[in-house]
């Protein structure tokens, strides 16, 4: 039985009202066009993660995003998300953003190729409409520009 996070998060955010879950207004299903070993793959994270030399995210309703190089040698990663769970992933951001593991799978030909960039944004944003109408389309445009076939979002 999976842990029920929503009641904990509601208690945690009190006296602010609990978060409202919102489904997208349009279906988000896209059929797979290629198997993973022929696909270009990108990671997405809602951890407000960035490279050390990129501008920091600003809590809490920061609607910007960062393009993070998929090269594991590109530099140290920093997590700006304000969640209390951050201590452990800050020891090793790869446990929420497996950039090196994905590169290893590409080297083993288990994925076709790496997107040159992965994507990071701030999770827990309450402006759902802006996320759907501005943030998500902007990210989708960048992923399309990078010719990404598969985007794997790791929620934070």
């Amino acid at each position: 039985m999976a842990l029920e996070y929503l009641p904990i998060m509601a208690q945690s955010s009190a006296p602010k009202p609990p978060r409202v879950l919102v489904s997208p207004s349009k279906p988000s299903w896209c059929p797979l066009t290629k198997p993973a070993n022929e696909s270009r793959v990108a990671l997405l994270t809602s951890a407000a993660l960035r490279l050390k030399d990129q501008p920091p995210f600003t809590p809490r309703e920061d609607l910007s995003y960062r393009l993070v190089s998929s090269d594991p040698a590109a530099g140290d990663m920093v997590i700006d998300h304000h969640s209390r769970i951050g201590a452990v992933p800050r020891e090793d951001p790869e446990i929420i953003f497996p950039r090196s593991a994905l590169a290893a799978l590409a080297a083993k030909k288990l994925v076709g190729s790496l997107s040159p960039v992965h994507v990071s944004f701030m999770g827990g944003i309450r402006s759902h409409k802006t996320v759907e109408q501005e943030l998500a389309p902007a990210i989708a445009r960048d992923l399309a520009k990078a010719q990404v076939d598969l985007a794997l979002l790791v929620p934070y």
Binding site: P24, S28, I85, E94, I96, P98, A101, L102, L152, P155
Partner: protein
């Protein structure tokens, strides 16, 4: 995840913020990623959830849930 409509969901029964295992465990990160990619072809419609049957504690203990609850509710 059952209340929103992501196109495909892979369930990893680990504490939030530790989806790919413990710090430094590259083998586990690759294992979970490989498992997730292997499930992709099994999705036939939106809203499906595929369970990778991961277990955080090798003995099956779920004491991490209480630790996480305490952490999330600390310093309120």
């Amino acid at each position: 995840m059952t209340n929103v409509s992501p196109p495909r969901v892979i369930f990893v029964d680990h504490p939030v913020g530790r989806t790919f295992g413990r710090p430094g465990d590259r083998r586990k990160q690759e294992e979970i990623l490989t498992g997730a990619l292997a499930e992709l072809a099994n999705f036939t419609e939106p809203g499906q959830i595929r369970d990778l049957h991961c277990q955080w504690d090798s003995g099956g203990s779920r004491s991490w849930e209480e630790e996480l609850r305490t952490l999330l509710l600390s310093d309120r």
